[in-house]
Amino acid sequence: MELQVKDIIQWFELTNEKIQANKDYLTSLDQPIGDGDHGINMARGFKEVVNKISTQDYENVADVLKDVAMTLMSKVGGASGPIFGTAFLKLSIAVKGSDSLNFETFTKGLEEAVNGVKQRGKATEGEKTMIDVWSPVVDYLKSEKDFQGDQIRKTAKQAMENTKEIMATKGRASYFKEKSIGHIDPGAASSFYIFEALAEVIKGGN
């Protein structure tokens, strides 16, 4: 299958539904190891994303993704705004020109997105961030030939769960290591909803 403009729009509509439904849950994940605003931030941002993209006419997928990125960038704030904004901006740039997305382009684009995030946030795998969901999803996609919704969902879910076990490494003080263990990273959880929504679009598209 190829992802069309309408699929991309649906992807973010479904993401928004999940984020809104889990707003309090995401915030509660951010309370023990952060500052307790992640659900509020994501809900504010994705609501605006849907407001924006559902009232526009798009010629190609890159334009949708660019609007998603810019909206997240200017409405979310915090760490997650620039991080998710950068992810979708890089994806948008990578798939520029294509009016629909085949599996290969998408996978390549998502890899660019992860690279962009790493550069922006100076973080990498194993530091208990959303990268620990995005990066395993990219790895899985690179091992595949075509979209398989169930597998994407499963990979993202497992990766999200795994962030529970991750403890802060280099540079992070020991008391902190212990405290962060046992908690899912909030950005990893919202990333899971993003990929779960994608999986549902794919399944529907199949």
Partner: protein, 331 residues
């Protein structure tokens, strides 16, 4: 959640409105933004000074906008960094050709959003420099920063870089003095109670009736240790010693002291704490040049405090003493 608010999702907008109404002659709100700027901005031949960050730390940062301190403060949602487009607006509104200087507290969100704004502004041909404040000695790296967090010490950066900019200094000179403040300022905090983000509606963490948390951040991020509540003297000793361990002081050094309340700790308690902080410094032969006791960098209605020490040289003293018309730091 007991708060004097209208809509929990609208607190920042409502607050900004009330702030401008309280100081209509000295500040203005930039249209369609959450930016408070000096009413006369941009000021010809002066480096523009911008700070900001999540809301909930009042009087930081809008209370420090005024002659001799900041030219603008960009407010994000509660505990959430403002977005790059907002910071960019502030930079553009302030630039008078002499460049704009950003004071950023070291949180991933603040650093990312301010840096992106800087990139965008530079792309439009504006000279931008920045300093990232990381005065909190409690944690080396915290769950959402790389490096130390920026807390109450930031206010000294505003004051001193602000005085430098007001004197007509160049962007490079402002940066040099701000870097020197950051190098010489250290803080450490503790909390007795949590706080509640209005849109979240419930406290960010729990502390038992006889517990306190040492080394807490200004958003309720975890600290070093949770333990039984101690006396003011013990708390002062723990916080001051941690700060002193981290920076080299010699007998006869001059310092500025800030005993900062996090929100609901009465001034009475801050003064009790202050008395012990002074005693410790006296014993070590460190000379207190100036003391600031009050609420400078808060965390909503959290009960607790932080102790900040700034090692002063002659120029820093002059700049600290210089005039400021910022409502929260009249001097």
């Amino acid at each position: 959640m007991k708060k004097i608010i209208n809509d929990p999702n609208h607190v920042v907008q409502d607050m900004i409105k009330g702030m401008v109404m309280a100081n209509p002659k000295t500040v203005k709100q930039l249209e369609d933004t959450l930016i408070i700027a000096r009413s006369e901005a941009p000021i010809a031949n002066k480096v523009g000074l911008v700070s900001g960050g999540g809301s909930g730390h009042e009087p930081a940062h809008a209370g420090y906008v005024g002659k001799g301190m900041l030219d603008a403060a960009v407010a994000g949602e509660v505990f959430t960094s403002p977005t790059p487009d907002q910071v960019l607006e502030a930079i553009k509104a302030l630039d008078s050709g002499k460049g704009v200087f950003l004071v950023i507290k070291n949180y991933t969100g603040d650093v990312l959003n301010f840096e992106m704004a800087q990139e965008l502004a530079e792309a439009e041909g504006i000279k931008v420099e920045k300093v990232v404040v990381n005065d909190d000695v409690a944690v080396e790296d915290s769950s959402f920063t790389t490096g130390r967090r920026g807390i109450a010490g930031t206010v000294f950066v505003h004051k001193i870089a602000g005085a430098k900019a007001e004197s007509g200094a160049s962007l490079e000179e402002v940066k040099a003095v701000a870097d020197r403040v950051v190098k010489n300022v250290r803080s450490m905090g503790m909390a007795l109670t949590p706080c509640t983000v209005p849109a979240a509606g419930r406290p960010s963490f729990q502390l038992d009736e006889n517990e306190m948390e040492i080394g807490i951040g200004i958003h309720g991020e975890p600290g070093i240790e949770r333990k039984s509540i101690a006396t003011a003297d013990e708390i002062a000793t723990e916080l001051t010693n941690k700060v002193l361990e981290d920076i080299e002081f010699s007998i006869g050094d001059d310092v500025a002291v800030m005993v900062n309340g996090l929100g609901s700790t009465p001034e009475m308690e801050l003064y009790i704490l202050n008395s012990k902080v002074h005693e410790i410094l006296n014993e070590k032969g460190i000379n207190v040049y100036k003391t600031f006791v009050g609420e400078y960098m808060t965390s909503l209605e959290m009960a607790g405090c932080s102790v900040t020490l700034l090692k002063l040289d002659e120029e820093l003293k002059v700049l600290l003493d210089a005039e400021s018309l910022a409502p929260a730091f009249l001097n």
